[in-house]
């Protein structure tokens, strides 16, 4: 057994204390009054002549407790072979952290960066080297754990080869996150490092242009370790003038609003901004004056569809990596809505009158509304092109087939039961089996005055827009008559609303891939107030929105942003600006590969779904290329090394290392805890025993 702090063993002298106390006779406590002490001799301790120790067991317990406490303080541990094995010395390690953000594309910056990195690798020699690049995130080129491997596996040449494979990307710079991640990785390593000097022996060599647009806010929430030092290698571009572009909005008239940001250290203040078409010819160019360190917002003239303009280009500065802004104007969608109803021009008596007016054309959509009467010629439209089918009359068997076919292909059908006959038309759509069909009942409901909508399922997409309390009031909406619909359990359906807590009012029946929404009432003023209410247009458009083909992706993104694709786009191909195509599996619903600016097109295997286009642009922070003040980094706690300064000049002496190992071994075994527990147990026993002995003596004294 060995001791970590053997000096504490001098405390063994304290064992003498209980022995001494046992030897020393205490003055008797009881006082005996006596008439005269003349004939008594005064010999206080000696008169007893009882120097022999009483209560041997108590003495032993006390002495043992003291001994155990002393031993615990000396921190005992058992030496074992692990100790010798773990004495391997730790070497210094260098972490190369190279900025690979888009601003590094300027001039010779990237070349300089690689050169610097090679220099550092050369200087490092036998030291362990880890290589990381960072932009908006941290990327390991040669991770810390690998660098723990013996040095011969990775030679200098290998490291250099790794460097040549690197190129700057298009992402923004998040310096703060990169530093905190590296520091956290090192701290994790420290936890398993026996010497505890790993942080002192590590240097982060940061190679960056250190632009003002770097995000360092992540450091504010991170406590930077005292021992970890960073050496900053700031790269400087020869020409400093740089301005960047940011698209603020692209309105419905396709007029882009653009912000031009000029870096604080720019020399230029006069720039030109222009559209660029696919052919590469600049159009409608206009001069812009932006003072250095400031920004200007400009509203560009409207784009004309025939112009096929895809970019806005800025000219007049030294670096053009951020001078291009890709545009993706929203494309108008053409919607086809077919109404199987009774056409009645100008008559408010028929549902068609209201349905037609419920879908106005907007800047984003063109609506073609087609009413097919009972006597109209057969429609010759492919079901795939219909976005919504409204039924409000009896159907012929062919029409029923058409509807069923449409539903099977994923269409949305709105079925209005405005009379008993239309109810009969519904039955064959719902079920082909006779048994089930017999159970479907539609009959006119008895209404005392009027009926109201209740039990509305506001979670369903049809009612979602009415969820807010100011819109959720349906009590003003009165229904004079409706059809009572009874659906058997065999048909899966969801009741979205009821009349007076009883009969279903709006039912959603999924059929095939499509949805059949049945309204058991008519919307003309003869039957209800629905068509005249404020709920009519939003609800019908919400039903139209149920068509999955209509969901669109937003059209503007920045580099590195994740894009969530709509559920309907299954197994999609994405064409990117440079690489030919990306294939996404059906499970993937997010697109991470927006690694460069440009125009992207998402096409689904389903040809009926139109291709989705979106533009990806550079983050505006990257344009802010003025150098960042070093003090800002220091004020966030990062320890920067002055040029020429090195970390932990001398490696810790062997003794210190050994001491550290012993300490670790002792901490693992923690024998002192057991010793303290046993000592406490002995003291407890001693207390009990002493009490018992005292009780016994006092009892005899009383007796």
């Amino acid at each position: 057994m060995s001791f970590l702090t053997p000096l504490y063993l001098f405390g063994i002298i304290a064992v003498g204390l209980p022995i001494l106390l046992h030897l020393v006779r205490h003055q008797p406590k009881n006082v005996q009054f006596f008439s005269s002490l003349r004939f008594l001799e005064h010999k206080p301790p000696q008169t007893n002549r009882k120097n022999k120790i009483e209560n041997w067991l108590l003495l032993l317990l006390r002495a043992a407790a003291v001994l155990l406490l002393v031993t615990a303080f000396a921190r005992p541990f058992f030496k074992n072979t692990d100790l010798e094995l773990t004495t391997a010395s730790t070497t210094r390690q260098t972490i190369l952290l190279i900025d690979a953000s888009s601003s590094m594309q300027r001039g010779t910056l990237w070349k300089d960066a690689l050169q610097k990195a090679e220099e550092i690798i050369k200087q490092a020699g036998q030291e362990q080297i880890a290589i990381y690049t960072f932009d908006s995130g941290l990327t390991a080129v040669k991770a810390l754990k690998e660098s723990k491997q013996p040095a011969q596996q990775f030679s200098e040449a290998d490291d250099r080869e790794l460097l040549t494979g690197l190129t700057p990307g298009w992402n923004a710079t998040n310096l703060g996150q990169a530093l905190t991640e590296i520091a956290s990785l090192l701290q994790q390593q420290v936890a398993s490092d026996p010497t505890g000097t790993l942080l002192q022996n590590s240097t982060i060599e940061l190679i960056t242009d250190f632009q003002a647009g770097s995000q360092i806010s992540a450091l504010t929430e991170f406590s930077w370790p005292e021992e970890l030092k960073v050496r900053l290698h700031q790269l400087k571009a020869g020409e400093t003038s740089n301005a960047g572009l940011q698209l603020l909005s692209l309105d419905e008239q396709s007029r882009p609003t653009v912000r031009i940001v000029n870096a604080a250290n720019s020399k230029q203040e006069q720039f030109t901004i222009a559209y660029q078409s696919k052919s590469g010819v600049p159009e409608t160019s206009q001069p812009v004056y932006v003072p250095r360190g400031q920004s200007r917002v400009i509203r560009m003239p409207a784009l004309e569809p025939q112009q096929q303009v895809t970019q806005i280009v800025l000219s007049g500065d030294d670096h053009d990596f951020d001078n291009r802004l890709y545009l993706q104007p929203r494309e108008k969608s053409n919607l086809m809505i077919v109404h199987l109803g009774t056409p009645a021009a100008g008559s408010t008596e028929t549902p068609d009158y209201f349905a037609k007016r419920a879908f106005p054309a907007t800047s984003n959509r063109e609506v073609e509304f087609l009413t097919v009467g009972p006597n109209s010629p057969q429609i010759l439209i492919a079901v795939a092109k219909i976005h919504l089918l409204i039924v409000s009359r009896e159907l012929s068997s062919e029409e029923t087939e058409l509807v069923k076919n449409y539903l099977q292909q994923g269409g949305v059908v709105l079925f209005s039961l405005n009379d008993a006959n239309s109810g009969q038309a519904l039955i064959p759509i719902l079920s082909t089996e006779e048994k089930t069909s017999q159970n479907i009942l539609t009959e006119a409901a008895d209404i005392n005055g009027y009926a109201l909508l209740t039990n509305i399922n506001f979670d369903h997409p049809v009612f979602q827009i009415f969820q807010a309390p100011e819109y959720s009031d349906f009590t003003q909406l009165k229904f004079w008559n409706y059809q009572r619909l009874t659906l058997p359990d065999g048909i899966p359906h969801q009741i979205l609303a009821r009349f007076d807590h009883e009969n279903p009012a709006i039912v959603n029946v999924p059929i095939g891939e499509g949805q059949l929404i049945v309204m058991t009432f008519g919307w003309t003023p003869r039957e209800s107030q629905f068509a005249l209410s404020t709920k009519f247009v939003p609800m019908l458009n919400a039903i139209l929105g149920q068509n999955t083909k209509l969901t669109t992706v937003p059209s503007q993104f920045t580099v590195g942003e994740k894009i969530k694709l709509p559920d309907s786009l299954k197994a999609v191909n994405i064409s990117t600006p440079e690489s030919p195509q990306i294939q996404l599996t059906s499970a993937q619903q997010t697109l991470k590969e927006t690694i460069q600016p440009g125009l992207y097109q998402v096409t689904s295997e389903d040809e009926t779904i139109p291709a989705q286009k979106f533009a990806v642009n550079l983050g505006i922070e990257e344009s802010n290329t003025a150098p960042l003040a070093i003090e800002k980094l220091e004020s966030l706690g990062v320890r920067l090394l002055q040029p020429g300064e090195t970390t932990a000049a001398s490696p810790p002496p062997a003794d210190t290392r050994r001491q550290a190992l012993l300490r670790e071994l002792e901490q693992k075994q923690k024998l002192w805890r057991w010793l303290i527990i046993v000592a406490l147990a002995m003291l407890g026993l001693e207390t009990v025993l002493a009490k018992w002995i005292t009780g016994k003596t006092s009892a005899t004294r009383k007796a």
Binding site: Q32, F34, S35, S36
Partner: protein, 307 residues
Amino acid sequence: MKKISAQKTYQNQKLVSQRIDPACLMRIKSLELRAKSVVEGNWNGLHRSPYHGFSVEFTEYREYTRGDDPRHIDWKLAARTNQHFIKRFEEETNLCCHMLLDLSSSMQFHSLSYSKADYAKTLAATFAYFLSTQRDASGLVIFHEEVDAVVPARFTRGQLRRILIELERPPQGSHTNFVSPLKHAIETIKKRGLVVLISDLLSPVDELNTHLGYLRAKGHEVALFQILDPAEIHLNFSETAIFEDLESGDRIALNPKIAQADYQRRLNEHLETIQAMCRKQGVNYHKLTTDTPLEVGLSDFLTDRAA
């Protein structure tokens, strides 16, 4: 003389069988009752009546000379010897007894249920009561380091009451000083009488000798009653303890078992000194332990009184 010694023998015989246990006696709260129990319970009818034969007492024969009253000629003797002798009678006077009672702090010690002071007070009360029944004068001096209370010796109606009142007063003193009461006795007692000193006599007795000598020189009979607790004689304590002097307040830690032999030796030396002194001065010395029946004390007193 013969009559008296016969009486004494009888008394002693009676005493052995009829002694009252002092522990029982001390439970009686009234001092007077205690005294009465001792005196009357055991002595009733054992002594001569105070109304017989105490008026005159024969002392000596003297040759008849002219002028003597012929009535006093002992004719029986003249018939036997043919010589004329005058029979002289001395007039019997009341005995004057002065009790000097030590009520210092050391007298407060007790190993029994009552202290030496209680015992001594009862003893003094017994004497006083007995004397009052005998129509003798009795006086009391209570002392500790100085004279505390004085009741001059008289034979009056309320004398016993006065003495008892003084005896029942709680003691106040601390140290023992024999000089002042003895000086007081020497200075104040003019008429010859019996001086009874009741004390534990545990303090130094250097000056006691001188003053006893003075008293004796003045013709007083002196009786010395030393009252000791049994524990003071044997030192039979079992526990080691701090022993505190009742008078001086000094403390010593002591194991009595070890100190016993040494103590007894020293105490015996002291007692022997006192006894030797008494023998030398003609003082009647009586050692009474507090467990001794009071009748023994009374009988000793009677012996001294008769002498």
